[in-house]
């Protein structure tokens, strides 16, 4: 029997992969040529003249359509990729900020001279690449091809979005050549999950052709996902960029091709070579890299704010925790205080939490009296406090202030809270209860000896 017939017969056993069907991409994403411009945004096409010179017009299918999308071919060793470039004025607003405010926050970082992983102090605004990729799969691995390298950056009075698009899978050398040609002067990547996904994937694909292209630059890397998680994990159902855009950045996307559709759109494009099949993905990526600027401005503002006029108490509280984790206690204290002050009288949980955290920080700084007084303030005003607070208070009173009576009182409070919790949770914390009991006995002995 012929192999062909056998392959057909065994087909059911051989292919389990998702079929790539054109109908998987809804019509509205397959826009008409030229419609990219209907948003009224300025579109310019200014790819370097060197590449234009080498372009041979007959060999590029759908060239007019590409041109309408502001993309030009980049030709290298007989292969071409498409480079799309769109410019926006710095004064343009994207969500709640104007791009120009990037300069502002960088200055603010300089002034604050805070040591923080997202700090842009000592960095030039035009050395930052706000970077994002689109790939043929979501799982990593060598076979997951990066087909779009996109970034935005500021230059002079403009924001420039540039996208390097893999026009055919055999053009990866050209893709990386074109990318590396144009990113040499930049020092840092700003990404959203780029440390775990995008950049390793770029490295992976680059490794396959490492003998034919220059090395990848050793970029510094600010990954905004980490910061977003720290600030909003408890307040947003997920930390997807699109959700953050809506909830935090005031960016609304219309007719967006969701990221998970990108691979299917690309496979469709490969079959037809018609750029209209991929323009939705290009637009999606463009918005992603623009939103990265807005997100960076926003996160910076949150991190640099030290009072709650501009920031919600919850966010301020989370930034305080972040500074605390970084060991920058003064900055943390300043923010916890601001949270507590803004919540005075309102009795909100975040205000109480800030006071408790403040107490812990004072304790770490060995400011015993301050710690105790702040906790006592909590005890006086709050109906419920975690027993740890009483326990810590008891420790300070016993070991530092030698006030055994107070210590005993707090220890007993802690024990009774613990017991309440055990009965609520129907779980005996025997070891802990025993430790509490021991502390109480010891304190009673100390008191007895004094009497």
């Amino acid at each position: 029997m012929s192999l062909k017939a056998k392959l057909q017969r065994l087909k059911g056993h051989l292919t389990r992969e998702v079929k790539q069907a054109a109908e998987a991409v809804p019509q509205e994403w397959q826009q008409e040529p030229g419609s990219a411009n209907r948003t009224g945004l300025p579109v310019e096409s200014t790819v370097e003249s060197t590449t234009v010179e080498r372009m041979s017009d007959g060999s590029i299918p759908f060239l007019p359509e590409w041109t309408a999308l502001a993309a030009r071919p980049y030709i290298y060793h007989d292969r071409y990729v498409m480079v799309r470039e769109v410019r926006y004025p710095l004064s343009q607003r994207h969500g709640r900020y104007r791009f120009a405010q990037l300069y502002e926050v960088i200055e603010d970082w300089e002034r604050a001279s805070a040591d923080h992983p997202l700090s842009a102090a000592n960095l030039a605004a035009d050395a930052l690449l706000f970077f994002d990729t689109e790939t043929t799969g979501l799982n990593g691995g060598v076979g997951n091809t990066v087909f779009l390298l996109g970034y935005s950056r500021v230059e002079g009075d403009e924001v420039i979005v540039r996208q390097h698009f893999l026009a055919a899978p055999d053009a990866e050398v050209a893709l990386y050549q074109s990318f590396l040609d144009s990113v040499r002067e930049f020092s840092h990547l700003v990404t959203f999950n780029g440390k775990a996904f995008d950049w390793p994937q770029v490295k992976t694909r680059h490794t396959l052709i490492r003998d034919e292209v220059p090395q990848l630059p050793a970029f510094g890397h600010l990954d905004l996902l980490h910061g977003a998680r720290r600030l909003w994990k408890h307040h947003l159902p997920s930390c997807r960029l699109s959700l953050i855009e809506q909830q935090k950045l005031g960016v609304w996307r219309e007719e967006d091709v969701p990221g998970y559709m990108a691979p299917l759109a690309y496979f469709d494009y490969l079959n037809e070579r018609d750029p209209r099949l991929i323009q939705g993905v290009l637009k999606h990526n463009e918005r992603d890299v623009l939103s990265l600027i807005t997100l960076y401005i926003h996160l910076s503002k949150l991190l640099l704010a030290h009072e709650s006029s501009a920031v919600s108490p919850e966010e301020l509280f989370e930034t305080a925790r972040w500074y605390e984790a970084l060991g920058q206690w003064e900055r943390a204290i300043q923010r916890y205080r601001a949270v507590a002050e803004s919540c005075t009288g309102s009795g909100t949980q975040v205000g109480v939490n800030a006071l408790i955290a403040l107490g812990h920080l004072y304790k770490k700084q060995k400011k015993w009296q301050q710690a105790i007084s702040i906790w006592e303030q909590c005890m006086a005003t709050c109906s419920y406090l975690p027993e740890e607070v009483y326990l810590e208070a008891a420790k300070i009173c016993e070991h530092q202030l030698k006030d055994y009576e107070k210590a005993l009182h707090y220890a007993k409070q802690a024990l009774s809270l613990r017991k309440k919790k055990s009965s609520l949770l129907r779980h005996k914390f025997s070891a802990e209860l025993a430790a509490y009991q021991k502390r109480i006995e010891r304190l009673e002995q100390k008191l007895f000896r004094l009497v």
Binding site: M1, L10, G140
Partner: protein
Amino acid sequence: MKQKRQIAEVLERLKSDERFGKQIVHWQTIPPREARLAPFPDDLDQRIRQTLSKRGINSLYIHQATAYRLVREGKHIVAVTPTASGKSLCYHLPILQALAEEPQVRALYLFPTKALAQDQKSELVAWTDEMGLPIKTETYDGDTPASIRQVVRQAGSIVITNPDMLHSAILPHHTKWVSFFEHLRYVVIDELHTYRGVFGSHVANVIRRLKRICAFYGSSPQFICTSATIANPKELGERLTEEEMVLVDDNGAPSGRKHFLFYNPPVVNRQLNIRRSATLEARDVAAAFLTSGIQTILFARSRVRVEILLTYLQELIKKKVGAKTIQGYRGGYLPSQRRAIERGLRNGEILGVVSTNALELGVDIGQLQACVITGYPGSIASVWQQAGRAGRRQDESVVVLVGSSSPLDQYVLQHPEYFFGQSPEAARINPDNLIILVDHLKCAAFELPFREGERFGRAEVTEILQFLTDEQILHHARGKWFWMNESFPAHEISLRSASQENVVIIDISEQGNERVIGEMDRFSSLTLLHEEAIYLHQGVQYQVEKLDYAEKKAYVREVQVDYYTDANLAVQLKVLEQEESVGGEQVEYAYGEVSVHAMATIFKKIKFETHENIGSGPIHLPEEELHTNAAWISFRETLLTKMGKAEAERGLAGLAYVLKHVAPLFVMCDPQDLHVVAQRKAVHSGEPTIFLYDRYPGGIGLSEQVFQEMPTILAEAEKLICSCPCEKGCPSCTGASEEGEKELALTLLRAAWGGSLHVS
């Protein structure tokens, strides 16, 4: 010394025991063997030399010296050595030497299981620490913490892993291993003999992928394989690696005296020639050893048997030694459970183990002194590997093979010269099984694009690449095929199980504490995890409450009942294409492609101890479809009129029964891998036909082998029927016991031989 005496004593008792004594039908004593030694090679590094000396090793066994020399000469080798013959030195020594000379050299060790990898790592680390060599030995498997994976990838000199991990985690991420692959000089394949059948065919393709990636990074590693005794180690090594191998089989290791007993259970029904259950007899033999404090391993052939024996023995031994000291060991257990058992065996906390052939592998479990095998495991090689579990340390040891009533067992027990005289079977793989090949071709394309004209190992693959392009999995551009799909192909392909997806078994006995206790391949689940089935796990009985076949989940609840369940599988078979045939007047042998539809029909509840049928019920599960290869024997339609329809049908059934047991003997496979179906009127020809088909989709070459060996197989089948002492057919020959069954089967056999029909 005390233990040696114990063994001799127990054997003496066994021999003179009224019940056991006369069932021992053969007693072979394998004499001890002296060591044959060779001096250390001249070029061996001083540090290695000293460490060996410190451990009391001042010379090598000759096979170790040969292996060292050949590897140093750049040859690929297969070393065939029995258990406990110091086989690991065959690869450690030349590799450590190379690393002592050039620290940047990298080596990859492949073990079939994680447990084996752990063992080897601790041994190697102890060695290299003592030698003071800057060698980093690391395991890389599912248990390796993410935090140290990067270190392993970049700095591991010797990376120990298993084929599954290589397949799904290393090769698809090869760009993270650049310097490892650039400097990869040795690939060790331990337990080569386990890479046969479907698993071996998969692994051969994983190695094609490995070699392709090595070539990309400019390396071309040497393969060092070790194998237990099989007929064709060199051929297997060459098929697996597609490199020319040199065989090292001059075993120089000493071995202790071994007693090999064939034990045939007593006949309980003379007319039907039915013997007492091998399971029960093996239990009693094992109990005799265990109660004397002799560490014993008991092998059973199926997971169910393991659990039944475990329940029996734990009950029996509880009073004397405590229930915890006997443990089960089989494939369905979770890794942590298995490792705990292996530890218990090594440190002696566990006295007995009941195992499926999972322990055929060379897990170092220390000094087991007795080995009881329940039923002939289907191949000579398997018997020797299971027997190798006893007496690894040169002590006296005993192996008891307890036969069942099956024709194959009876044949072996009654022909000890067959077992002791014949060389063990050959291990076969078929890396070009279309399904397996296509699976790995996808993985390979994911890892690196294919160039026009490129082969995949020895396989010519252009047509398949085109097929995958038509299916929109690959994209063809300018002479290259690129992976163009969202999926991660290696994650969808399992090297171990026939069907791609396993059924997960979930214990729901305790509300709020549901937990996964095991898994099973889909095909087995049809008959073992249907609703109401009794599923046994570590001696605990569970009843299946719900089998969610679509979601691949079986929900079980703990129960206590005095029965187990046994399910029937109804099979329909159609010939799709006949590829080869040899015709005679009366009969035709053929080979080709078939489609099989299997459906579980009913199950029976069978009482422990008495094995009586105490109830049954229907099974409602969808039909499984299988495309595979088959060999078949067709008789002329006239046979029906000559013999009579009913008689011909009974004859076919009887002959099929015999062939099912005899054929695996000649194609070296587990009887489970080759199925037999008889049809009075085959769909394709209308003729009476017996089919023997491969259980794996696409076939792995078993039925092709059957087709080629048909005359031998038929001759052996005839011998078996003729030499059976029963009168009219019994479970040890033709199966049923109706009048004339035996004669009918023999009549058909003669016809199959090309003789004319004689109906008496």
